[in-house]
Symmetry: C2
Subunit: 168 residues, 2 copies
């Protein structure tokens, strides 16, 4: 009933792997913190909330079903519910009923929300550049993208049934 501890003798991380792993943990901790602060200061919301608005802004009609939005941002529906409630209070997002499915809700980016994005986007992009892209060579950027996509694939929704042997 346990995915991992079924191992007979654990293969510990090598020195190099440990180094890499700590670097990963440190970098991601600092980065999230960095962006949260930058956006909290400039936009009055954490990074995740900003992401939600970005994803909505790119969607047709600037709207998405809650579940779809949750999947695209890799968060739980519950977390999204709370987040949208807050964004709604701020006036950046509005909820709308789904005509074809009475259970469904759309999260819709408001004009105010869009405007706010326009205002804050330059600062956010600059922060990302300064922390990430400005410091990496083109090869490293390419490599980073590939690696992160591999990780994502491995943890994705497939997650649900990932430990079922007959599904790869």
């Amino acid at each position: 009933m346990n995915t991992a501890s079924t191992e007979r003798e654990p293969r510990w991380l090598t020195y190099e792997e440990q180094r890499t792993w700590f670097a990963y943990v440190h970098a991601t901790t600092l980065m999230e913190d960095h962006l949260d602060r930058q956006l909290q200061r400039d936009a009055g919301m954490p990074h995740l909330y900003y992401q939600l608005l970005v994803v909505l802004s790119a969607a047709p009609q600037r709207r998405l079903r809650m579940t779809e939005l949750a999947m695209r941002t890799k968060i739980t529906r519950s977390r999204l519910s709370h987040a949208v409630a807050r964004l709604e209070k701020n006036g950046w997002v509005r909820r709308e009923d789904c005509p074809s499915d009475k259970r469904g809700q759309f999260a819709v980016l408001t004009d105010g929300g869009f405007e706010m994005l326009s205002t804050c986007a330059p600062g956010h992009v600059a922060a990302v550049r300064q922390a990430l892209f400005d410091r990496l060579s083109p090869e490293q950027q390419k490599s980073l993208g590939e690696i992160m996509e591999i990780i994502t694939e491995g943890l994705q929704p497939a997650e649900a049934g990932a430990d079922l042997p007959w599904l790869r």
Copy 2:
């Protein structure tokens, strides 16, 4: 009074950069979630708390000053205070006064804490392997380590005075 938005005309992210950035955000979101769940289930604590114990276990005397522990794990002293308070309640960590500086406190890993680490380490390592190292080539692992170290350097404590022009 604003670090980023001093830019005259923002350099938006290219298509490739966006792709990389989203991959980064998705992968790190999923990874943190994955490890938090795994450790919450097996060790009854979030990933950060587990990291604190790991770092303590590697320190001489299995103890560190609060500030030192906070710096090594890249979190604020405040966050650490709360975390240690919780870990203390669980009996994994104990606080001790610092003799040479009456303001100081040591966080000390207890025997119970150490034992718990021993028990949970295999499962945790397995989770990290399965999500990360098992999926990457040796070259990718090396590259990932380098990239993450670069990011860390850029965001590090130097952070505090990073936007002062006369310090690089």
